[in-house]
Chain length 374, copies 2
C-alpha cells in the first residue's frame, strides 16, 4: 500500500492530559489540530460564502455523501471538477459516508449485509447505499478524507443488535478499504459499539488491524449522558494508534469539544454553531445568548468585545431586530459569529496544549461560560 | 435658510442627450451620479452585510420610514445612534417617507388632510402618519436625505382624485419643509400627478417654489406602459431646476435606468436587483438568466465572465444547485451579483456621459441584452 494522502503529525503532547497538538496534512493543505470542521451539507456552509467561511478561521469543512448524492448527484459534481471546484473551497474537505443519515434522515431504511436500501427524504424515491457505492460517491466528490460506511443504531439498543451493527461496520470498513481507487483521498474508519466499552474495544482493534490512515468515533452524542459519552470515548481513544488522527463525529457543545480534546481527540464536526446561529443562539466566551430575548432590545454592546466577526460590528439590539424582522442577515451574521467563536476556542485550546496548561484553560473556560444567561 | 446638507454638483452634460454626470455631496460622503441605491428596507439590504453591499460598488442606500417605524421603531434607532450606526453603514442613506407604503402595503389606509391612518401589515395595529410625523421619524433615523410625505394613488385614477392627491402632496411637502429641525439632513420633494403632464407640471412648479434641495419623481412604474412613463418623465424633468439632484423613485429595470438617465435623472432605487436575485433571476450584460432552468444544470461558466462579484467565482451549475436545494447562499450570491451588475451599469453610464457617447452606449447595451434567454 502506498503512502496515505492524509497524514497527521504530532507537534506536542500536553503534560497533564491526553490532549494533542498536531497538524493534519492533506492534498489541499494542512490543518492545525485540534480542529473544528463546519458542516457544509450540500456543498455550502449554510448562509456563508467560502470567503466568509475562511474568515471565521476555518481550515477544513465537511460535506455529506447522502445529501450530495441525492442533490445535485455525485456524477455532476465530478463532471464539474469535484467538490472543491464545485463549491469554490480550496482547503481540505472531509465527506461523511451517509451512515448517520441512513439512521437519522432517510425513510424506511433497511440494512442488509450487502448495504442499505432507503427512501429519499426529498422525493421518496427508493435508493441503495452500499460500502462500495459510498466510496464511489466520495471518489466522485474528490474529498481529501472519505469516511467508511458504518451501521449506526439508536441508543439504547438491544445488545445483540448493537454487536451485530458493530461487526457489520467492521466488515463494511474492510470493503470500503479494498475498493478505494484514488491515491489523493484517504479513508477514515469509524468505531461503533454504542456505550459498551467491550464492543468499542473489539471494534477498534479490528479496525486498527485494517490499518486506516485515521479513525473516527461514531455513534456518540445521540442522546446519552455526557458522562457516558466521555467514559466510552476514553476507553476507545486509549486503544487507537498514537500516530493516526482521531475524529469525534457530530460533537458538539464547546464543553464537549474541550472534554474530548483532553481525551486526545484531534478533529470535530457539528451542526451546533451553524444551526443554533440560524436560530438566534450565540456562543460567546461568557456563555450563550438568545438574541430574540427582550433583554437585548436596546443593548448597544456587541455579542463579544474584540471578536473580529462581522456580527460584532453591530449591537445586540441590531442583531435582535434582524431576527424579529425575520431578515436573512440575522442567521448569516450569527453563523459567522458562532463559527468564529468555535475557531477561536480551538486556537486557544491549541495554544494551551503547546503551553502544557490545557486543563487550566478548560477550567477557566467553564468559569467564564457561566457569566451570561443559561 | 441655511446651506442645505445635501448638494449636487454637475460635472458634465452629455452633448447628445439630457444625461448628466454629477456628484452628490452629503454629510456621510459623496456619491457619483447617476447613482443606483439598493433598498435596505428594515436597516438591511436583504442577505448582504454592509461590507458585501459596499463591495458591489454601492455608495448610497435607501431605508424605509414605514417599515422602520413599525419595527424596531425610530426612537430605538435614534437611541442606538441613528440608522447609520444601527446598521453599520457609514455611507449616505436616503429614507423614503412611507407615502408609497401607505398605498401599497398598509391595510385600510385612510387619507385626510391632516395625514393618513392605517393598520400595520405586521400586527394590524391602528397607526397614524402625518407629514410632521414622517419627518420626525426620519430625523430620528438621521438619514442624509429625507423624503417628504406624499399622497400616492393607483393608476388609472379618476382625474379629480388625481388632482386632489397632487395638491395634497404639495401642501404636505410645505408642512414637511417647515417642520425640519436637523441641519445635517436635506429633504427632497416628490412630484406627483399620475400620467397627466399638466398636473405634473403644476406640481413641479409649486414644489420648485418651495425651493427643496432635491426633487423626486414619484408615482411612476406602477403598471403603466414604459412609453407613458417616459413621456411624463420627460415633461417633468424639463421643469425641474438644473442645479438640483433628480431622483426617479422605484425604477427599475436596466433599460428603464438608461432611458431615465437620458432624460436627466441622477438617482434611482428599486427592489428589482435584490428581490429578483432572491428569486433566482440574474441580470447580466447579455440579458437575464433564470437560474432554476434545467439548461444551467451542468453549465460550468460563471454568470458573467470578468464580473468580480462572489457569485461569479462559481459556475451557473453551482448557483442552480443552491436554488434547487433551497440554500440561503443562492439568494445571497445572486443579490450580490445583481447589485454588482447594476452598479457596473451605472459606472459605465457615467463614463459614457463623460465621453459624450451615452446614446451609443445605451444602444449597445440593448443589443447585448438580447443575447441571453428572455
Amino acid at each position: 500500500m502506498s503512502f496515505p494522502a492524509v497524514t497527521w503529525q504530532c507537534l506536542h503532547l500536553d503534560r497533564h492530559t491526553a490532549a494533542r497538538r498536531g497538524r493534519l496534512h492533506t492534498p489541499h493543505g494542512s490543518v492545525e489540530t485540534p480542529a473544528f470542521m463546519p458542516v457544509g451539507t450540500v456543498a455550502t456552509v449554510k448562509g456563508l460564502d467560502v470567503a466568509a467561511v475562511a474568515a471565521t478561521g476555518t481550515e477544513m469543512i465537511l460535506g455529506n455523501t447522502y445529501h450530495l448524492a441525492l442533490r445535485p448527484g455525485s456524477e455532476l459534481v465530478r463532471q464539474l471538477g469535484g467538490l472543491h471546484q464545485f463549491m469554490g473551497w480550496n482547503g481540505p474537505i472531509l465527506t461523511d459516508s451517509g451512515g448517520f443519515q441512513l439512521f437519522s434522515l432517510a425513510q424506511m431504511t433497511k440494512i442488509r449485509e450487502s448495504g442499505a436500501t432507503f427512501r429519499s427524504h426529498i422525493d421518496g424515491s427508493l435508493l441503495e447505499l452500499t460500502p462500495e457505492r459510498a466510496i464511489a460517491i466520495q471518489e466522485d466528490l474528490g474529498s481529501d478524507i472519505a469516511m467508511v460506511l458504518d451501521h449506526v443504531v439508536g441508543l439504547p439498543c438491544e445488545p445483540a443488535l448493537l454487536e451485530d451493527a458493530m461487526e457489520r461496520t467492521v466488515r463494511w470498513a474492510a470493503r470500503c478499504r479494498s475498493c478505494a481507487t484514488r491515491s489523493d483521498q484517504s479513508q477514515f474508519a469509524i468505531v461503533q459499539g454504542g456505550l459498551d466499552t467491550n464492543l468499542r474495544l473489539r471494534c477498534t482493534q479490528q479496525l486498527v488491524n485494517l490499518d486506516f490512515p485515521g479513525y473516527a468515533v461514531g455513534g456518540l452524542s445521540v442522546g446519552e449522558e455526557p458522562r457516558e459519552m466521555y467514559r466510552v470515548l476514553e476507553a476507545t481513544v486509549a486503544a487507537l494508534p498514537e500516530s493516526k488522527p482521531r475524529y469525534l463525529m457530530g460533537v458538539g457543545r464547546p464543553e464537549d469539544l474541550l472534554a474530548a480534546i483532553a481525551e486526545g481527540i484531534d478533529m470535530f464536526d457539528c451542526v451546533l454553531p451553524t444551526r443554533n446561529g440560524r436560530n438566534a443562539l450565540a456562543f460567546t466566551s461568557s456563555g450563550t445568548l438568545r438574541l430574540r430575548n427582550l433583554v437585548h432590545r436596546d443593548d448597544g454592546r456587541p455579542l463579544e468585545e474584540g471578536c473580529p466577526c462581522p456580527a460584532c460590528l453591530h449591537s445586540r439590539a441590531y442583531l435582535r431586530h434582524l431576527f424579529m424582522a425575520k431578515e436573512m442577515l440575522g442567521p448569516i451574521l450569527l453563523t459567522a459569529h458562532n463559527l468564529t467563536y468555535y475557531q477561536r476556542l480551538m486556537r486557544q485550546a491549541r495554544e494551551a496544549i503547546e503551553a502544557d496548561c490545557f486543563e487550566e484553560f478548560r477550567v477557566r473556560a467553564h468559569t467564564r461560560w457561566k457569566q451570561e444567561e443559561p
